[in-house]
Homo-oligomer: 251 residues x 6
C-alpha cells in the first residue's frame, strides 16, 4: 500500500515533521510519501490562504496522485482542496481534522479541538458543522499560538499553552476527548493527555491509520452527488497538471 | 457608487448577460462594471471548479477591487472566493445565492432553489446549511440543465423545465418563494412566477440591489474572527496580484 | 415609491424619530410616511403588549395601507402584526428585527442583538428561532434600559450602556456584527461601532433600505401557505377598518 | 377546582361542544366553565384572525380570570393570546395544541397532527418548532376541511376524511400517535384510532386533564423572563378590561 | 384505577419514600403500589447500573404488571427499562424525568434539571436530546450529591445545595422552571422554589398525576414502530418471568 | 494485539460467521476471538431484547474482557451494553453501527442504512441521533427481512432484497454510501455496491479495522463524564461476573 501525505502549505520543515509522524503511524509494509506545493503561503491561516493553497496543491498533487492508494490532507480544517481532490480522484482522501474527530467519537461523548491561532476558531466551528457533528463538539479553543510559532517556541512553552487550554476544555466545556487542532502538534499527545486527564488525538496519526484502514476495506470515494466526476469542459490558460482533469486537449 | 460584478468562470458571454441584468437592477447613479478571469473553467460545476476558479478570480479581481464600493460574486453557490475576498477587502461582498435567499426570506416562510444540473444539489444544500438557514429551505431541485445549456437551449425549453420544477417545489415541497439557482437564469423570473404562482427571485438582481443598499447604509465587512485580515507571511511563487495581499516584498 | 413606517406603540415622539431616520435612509425620490395607533401601550414590552398593539395597529394601518408600495413595522421583535399584515396585504412588509439581521448576515459570520430591557431577551431569542437563523446568532443581550429610558436618559448614558454590552457581545460571545435591538436606538450606530470594533446595524435604516429594494425588485408577499389571503367569514362587532378584511357586509 | 375553557372565536356552538368535552374530561369535583369573545372572527383561520381574536379574547377573559384555578385556550395552534394570558395571570394556561402533544409524547416516538384546512399546516409547523418538539413530529397534515365544515358536514364524511389522513400519517410519515388538530374534532378519537391503528389524542380532553393535574401539583406560571408580569405604563384608549392590566388609572 | 410505581434500584427505603409521594399525588380513588427489584445495585449511577437494574426490574415487574392500569418508572433519566416495558405492555409507562419535563414545559420557556451526582449530567443531557426537547432545556446541573447522600445528609444540607444550584440555573442559565433530577428529592419543591423564585417540579409527583391522566384519557402505548410488540423467538436460559414475553414454552 | 468480537445474541452460528469476517478484516498478527451469551434471545429485535441481551452479555464478557486490547459489539444499533462496557473497561469498545458510519462519512456526503426488519428503523434513527450524525444520514430503510431470515433465505433472495432497498436509498433519498444494517450481512458488500453504484460498508469489517487502529493509536475510553468508572456500591443478588464490577465483597 502507498499513502501520500499532502501538506498544503510551503513549509518543507512541517512536511518533514508530518511525514515522520505518518510513517510511524502507518507501520511496516506501508509506503508513505509526503509532498507540499512549491508556491503559496507558508502557513494556512484563513480562507484566502485556503483558496490560494488549494490551487497550488492541485498543481503538485494531481500529477502524482495515481501512484497512491490513499491520500491524507494534512491541514487541520475543512480545507476546500479536500472536496476538489475527492472529485478528481477515486481513492480515499482524508483530512486530518475529520480524521481526528472520527477517532475521538468512540472514546467519549464530546470532544474539544485545541487549535493554534484564534482566527481558526470560527473556521473550525464551521468545519465541525460541515461535518455534521456539532452536537458532539464541546468547544473549539485557541491556544493563542500561530502555526509557525509551534515550530519557533520551545516545546515546553507550546506544551504548557496547549495543556492549559485542554484542561479548560475538560473542566469548563465538558470535553471528554481532546483533538489537537494543528498538523504541527503531532507528538504532544501524551503530555497533553496527562495534563488534561482525557485521551488526546493527533490528526496526522489518526488520518494515516484511518486511510490505511479504508484502503484495506476497499473503500472508494462515492461518485454520486457530492463528489461526482469533474465535468469535462473548456478551461483555458491552466497548467497541464490541472487542465488534464478537464479533459485536457479535447477542448 | 461603483459596483463590481464578478463572474468567476471564463464565459465572457455570461459576464455580459449578468452585467446587463445588474445595470438595470442598480438603477441610475450607480456605475456597474463586470469582469471574469481569463483562465479557468468555462463553467463552475463542482468543488474542483470552485477551487480553480477561485484562484483565477483572485488574480483578476484583487488588482481592481479598490476602485469599487461593493462587490457581487455572480456564481450561485457557497463559492470559496467569497470568503477569500471578504478577508482581503473591506467593502461588502455578496454572493448571488446568499442574496437571493435574503430577498426570499421576507416574502414567504419557506423557499426552494431551482438550479441547473443535479450535481449542484448537494453543494447548494451544504451552502444553505453554511448560511444557517436550512429551516427556511423547502428544497433544492435540479432542472436537469447544465449551466451552459441555459444559453444553448431555446428560452422556451429552458423556461418549461424551470417552470415544471418550480411548480413541483411549490406543490410537493411547500415552497412559498422560488430562488433561481443559476446566474444565467436572470430575466426568467416573471415566466416562472406565473407558472408557479409564487414570487421568484433572481440572484443577480437581488445581489445588486442588496449590495447597493449595504453600501448606502455604510456597511463594511467585519474584521473580527471569520473575516480577519490576511496574515502577512512568506508566500513564494505567487503572481504579484495575489502576493500583494501577503505583504508582497516584505518577505 | 411610497413607503409607510408603522410604529405599533402610541408614542408619537418615537414615531417622529423613526420617520426622520427612515427618510434619510430612503433617499431622494421615495415618499416616506409614518403612523402609530391612537390606542394601546406607549411601549411594547412583552407579549401582552404585542397582542394589544397588534390589534390597535390594524385599526390604524388597514385603512391607509393601499396607498403604499411597502411597509416597515418598526418594533424590534417578532411582532404578531407582521404576519397579520402579510396576510392582509400584497406589498412587502418588513419588521426591523428581521431587516437588521438580513443586513448583518453578509457582513460577518455571527451577530448579536443588544436590546433594551431584559424582558425582551427571551422574546428576541424566540424571534431569532422563528426566523430560522439561530445558528448565526452569537447572543441576545440586554442593556438594562427600558424602551422609554432611551428617550429619557442623556444620550451619553444610553451610548455608554450600549457600548459596554456590544463590547461584551464581541469579546465574550464572538459577535462579529451588532444589531441594535430597539427602534429608538437609530443614530447610535457609529458610536457603538467605534466602541465595539465591528459593524453595527440599525433596524429602521436597514428595513427602509431593504423594503425599498424589494419594491424595486418587484417583490410581493407570497400568497401560498403561510401568508394566504384572509378567509372571508362572519366577524361580528369589529370596527369597519378590520371588518373590511373579512369581507365586510357580505356576512 | 374551577377551570375556564376559552374558545377564542365567536362561534357559541363550538364553545358549547368544547365545554361538554371538557366537563367529561375534568370528572367530578371540578367546576368547568367556558366562554368566547362576543366580537371577532367566527373561526380562527390564520395569523390575522389570531391577532384580532386575541384582543377580543382578552376583553372577555381578563375580567373573569381571577375566579379560575386554571385556563385552557381551546384553539389548536400557537395562538398569541396564550403568551399574553401567561403574562397577565399566575395560574396555569394551557393551549390545546401544546396539551395534545404533551399527551402524545409518552405514548410513541413520533406524532402527527391531522388538522382542518391546509392553511393551518405552516402555522402548526411553526407552532411545533416554537414548542421545541419538531424532532418528535412526523408530519402535519390537512384533512382539507375548513373548521366550520366540521360542524356542517355529516360526521361520517368528516370522520372518513380524517381517517384517510391519519392512515397516511402512520403509513407514509411514520406517525405512532395522531393528534387531532382542531378543537372541533373532539369525540372522534375512537373512530380515527380504529382506522389508523394508533392512539389518537383530542386536545380539549388532554388540556383539561393536564391543567387539572398542574393545578393539583401546585403549578404556577413562571414569572421569570418569558412570562414576566406586564409592565405598568400609559396605554390610552383601551377598554377597562384591558387597561386594568396596565395599572389602569395610575397613568 | 391501579398504578404501579417502580423503583429500579434495590433500596427499599427509597421505594417507601417514593410510594408515599405518589399516593399523595394520586389522590383518593386511585390505588398506588410500589415495588423494586430484589437484586441489583442499590442506586443507579450510570449506564452499567442501568443495564443491570433494567434486567432485574423486568424480573420483578413483568409478573405483576397486568394488575395495573399505568406504570411509573421512578428513576430520573432515560432508563432503558422504560422502552423495554413499553414494548412488553400496553398500558402507559412514564419515566419521572420525562414527566417532570412535561409538567415544566407549559409553565415557562426553559427548564433546568438540578440532579444529584455530576456523573448524571451527560446522561441527562442525552436523555433530554432523546426526548427531543433540548431547545427548551437551559441546563443540567449537578448539586454534587450522590443519590444515597440525599437520604444520609441532613435535609437542611441537601436543601441548601439544591437551592444554590437552582438559583445558579435561574440567574446564569436563564431557567424559568426547575426540575428536581432525582427520585429522592420529592418534598423539597417548596423550599427550592422559594429560594430560586421559579416553579419547581418533582418527577414522582408529576409522573403519578400524568399517568393517572393518561389512563383517564384512555391512553395506550402505540404499537407502531418504536414500541412494537416483542417478537416471539427462542430465548434460552431465562427466568420464567422474562421468558414468558418471548412466547415461553413455544420455543 | 487481541480483539474480542461480542455477539450479544445466543445464535452461535451468527457468532461464527461474524468471527470469520472479523478475522479476515483484522489481518495477520492480530488474534481475534468471538463470544456470545449462553442465555437470552436468539436475535436482538427491539429494546426489550436489548435490555435482556445486555445483561446476559455482561455475564459472558466481563470475566474475559481483561485479556483483550479492544472489543467490538457486533449488534447493529445503539445497544445499551456498549455504554455499560465503556464504563466497566478501559480499552476501546466499538459498536458495528457506529463503526460503519465512521467508515462511511469520509467516502460521501450522506449515507443510508439498509437494515433487516422494519422494527429496527425507529431504533436506528434514534441511534443515528444519539451519535449526533443525523445531518449526514439520508435514510434508514428496511429490507423487510428478519435477522434470522438472512441466514434462512437463499443468498440470492437476500441480496436481491438488499439491492432493491440500496438502489432506492441512492435514487430516492440521495444516499452516496450504503451501510449494511445487520451483523449478518457481512460478505454482501460487493453485490450491493454493484447494484447501487455506491460504496457499501459492512459494520463488522469496519469495526474490526477501526478498533485495531484505535488500539494502535493508543486510544483508551475517556473516563470523564459519560463513561466514568462504575461507582462501587452494594449490589445484592448478582452473579460474581457482574458483582465484581461493583467492588464485589467489599459491600
Amino acid at each position: 500500500m502507498r499513502l501520500l501525505i499532502v501538506n498544503p502549505n510551503t513549509s518543507a520543515d512541517m512536511t518533514a515533521t508530518i511525514l515522520a509522524t505518518a510513517k510511524v503511524a502507518a507501520g511496516p509494509g506501508v509506503q508513505v510519501d509526503a509532498c507540499n506545493p512549491l508556491r503559496g503561503p507558508a502557513s494556512v491561516e484563513g480562507q484566502f490562504d485556503e483558496v490560494v493553497s488549494a490551487y497550488c496543491t492541485l498543481e503538485t498533487v494531481l500529477p502524482i496522485a495515481d501512484q497512491y492508494d490513499g491520500i491524507v490532507l494534512a491541514c487541520y480544517g475543512h480545507h476546500p482542496v479536500i472536496g476538489a481532490l475527492r472529485e478528481a480522484l477515486d481513492q480515499p482522501v482524508l483530512g486530518i481534522m475529520e480524521a481526528s474527530i472520527l477517532h475521538a467519537l468512540p472514546l467519549g461523548d464530546r470532544f474539544s479541538i485545541v487549535t493554534s491561532s484564534p482566527r481558526w476558531c470560527p473556521l473550525l466551528e464551521e468545519g465541525v458543522r460541515a461535518l455534521g457533528v456539532e452536537q458532539r463538539c464541546a468547544s473549539v479553543r485557541s491556544s493563542g499560538l500561530a502555526v509557525l510559532d509551534i515550530a519557533a517556541l520551545s516545546e515546553d512553552e507550546v506544551v504548557a499553552r496547549l495543556c492549559a487550554e485542554a484542561r479548560a476544555a475538560v473542566e469548563q466545556d465538558g470535553a471528554e476527548v481532546i483533538c489537537l487542532g494543528c498538523g504541527g502538534m503531532a507528538g504532544l499527545e501524551q503530555a497533553v493527555s496527562e495534563a488534561a486527564g482525557v485521551p488526546v488525538i493527533d490528526g496526522v496519526r489518526a488520518a494515516t491509520i484511518l486511510v490505511r484502514g479504508l484502503v484495506e476495506a476497499g473503500g472508494r470515494t462515492s461518485k454520486r452527488n457530492r463528489y461526482r466526476r469533474i465535468e469535462p469542459q473548456p478551461a483555458p490558460g491552466l497548467p497541464a497538471s490541472i487542465a488534464r482533469s478537464y479533459g485536457g486537449d479535447r477542448f
